[in-house]
């Protein structure tokens, strides 16, 4: 693996559309579930161990070379909310564009052709990692970290939260991100033998339900 390539892919400024999404934080702020650093940490912890872990395992499996269409179906099955499925595909399409420009590869071109409107973002993330010469754990790191850094950055904008406090939340969650990555990579390693049922399927019902409501708001800062 190349440590520097991992930094490029994991950089919050990697131009793949994430900046317009709050990872459910906007709905949680409006509902009074995130009001400051402590509740942001609780929110991020919940997201990390549910959809974050699922995304990390999908990304790791894609990085290992598991068939993207099987993984895309597995991602659909693990995303009950149609709004979140649409968001995952839109972000997958945007990430695909950035990845093809950054690490050109025939494999990316083929998957882009197969999913013109986008495959699920974690699947594309794993393929991007693969094209960058990265491994399964690297891909899982990008997905798991993104599952908490997205809401943290958005909350800084939504609540005018002190950015140092938001970054300290991410630092405190780091050991748990490590653990989630280990679990995700281990599960991804079993897919070749056991099929996609080896992947985790944790979900956070409140995230799914509030994403549906958020998609219908007439006025909002973030797309999701």
């Amino acid at each position: 693996m190349s440590g520097a390539a991992l930094l490029v892919l994991a950089d919050g400024r990697f131009p793949a559309g994430g900046h317009a999404h709050s990872g459910g934080a906007e709905a949680a702020v409006k509902a009074g579930r995130i009001t400051g650093a402590a509740s942001l940490e609780d929110f991020c912890r919940g997201r990390l161990h549910t959809s974050g872990r699922v995304a990390a395992a999908l990304a790791a499996a894609a990085a290992l070379g598991v068939d993207p269409s099987l993984l895309d179906e597995a991602a659909d099955a693990r995303t009950p909310s149609p709004a979140l499925r649409a968001v995952a595909r839109r972000l997958g399409r945007q990430l695909m564009r950035a990845a093809r420009a950054t690490w050109p590869a025939d494999e990316l071109d083929a998957v882009a052709g197969q999913f013109p409107k986008g495959a699920h973002q974690p699947v594309v993330l794993g393929l991007a990692a693969r094209s960058a010469g990265l491994g399964a754990a690297d891909a899982a790191y990008c997905a798991a970290y993104e599952s908490v850094s997205g809401p943290a950055t958005a909350t800084v904008r939504l609540l005018s939260l002190d950015p140092f406090e938001a970054t300290a939340v991410l630092a405190r969650l780091a050991p748990e991100v490590d653990r989630v990555v280990d679990l995700a990579a281990e599960a991804a390693g079993r897919v070749a033998e056991e099929g996609v049922d080896a992947l985790p399927a944790g979900s956070a019902p409140v995230l799914e339900i509030s994403a549906e409501a958020h998609a219908g708001w007439p006025v909002r800062l973030f797309a999701s």
């Binding site: 131009p15 559309g17 590869a105 960058a132």
Partner: protein, 226 residues
Amino acid sequence: MHVDHSPSHDGPAVGADARRADGSRRALRIGLGGPVGSGKTATVAALCRALRQELSLAVVTNDIYTREDADFLLREAVLPPERITAVETGACPHTAIRDDISANLEAVEDLEDEVGPLDLVLVESGGDNLTATFSKGLVDAQIFVIDVAGGDDIPRKGGPGVTTADLLVVNKTDLAPYVGSDLGRMAADAKAQRAELPVVFQSLRSEAGVTDVAAWVRARLAEWTA
């Protein structure tokens, strides 16, 4: 491990590519940026009215937190609804038009797929600051719209929008007498900042309206298709 760095660009991976995936030439893209309320949407609306008979047009808007601009254009019926797309910017239009243009590129490409062929796509940025410019990966030319009511020292202050935009529009000249703006001074300052780059003074409340800007757009289109 799979590392394949063969340069294969057969898809629309890079925004600045002048050709679409099927090999046809894509539409010219012109960005309109500038401070809040300077008249970007009004200029887009007037351009659509001036050009829609002669060109196949579409518009992408980038609002800060609503669909305000897209809804205005829809209400005014300047184009059929399927030719107007709103991109959500996560509170940062300048990010969506400059630093991470992926959502805008997708919007432009979807418009070409769904209502094309198109000659021209106008991309409006939500009102932002004097440093907000469009990425060259997203647009082929950009118009920066300021107005006389925002203070007649804006051309002197400069900034990337005022100094580098392909066209600077100083809008709402009809308001100059009421806000005490000195148009001569604005023109001299703009000339000093921009050297040979063009500047248009316009009032959309006047008879001439958007005529000069429409002529500039036609000239860009003639270059693009030449």
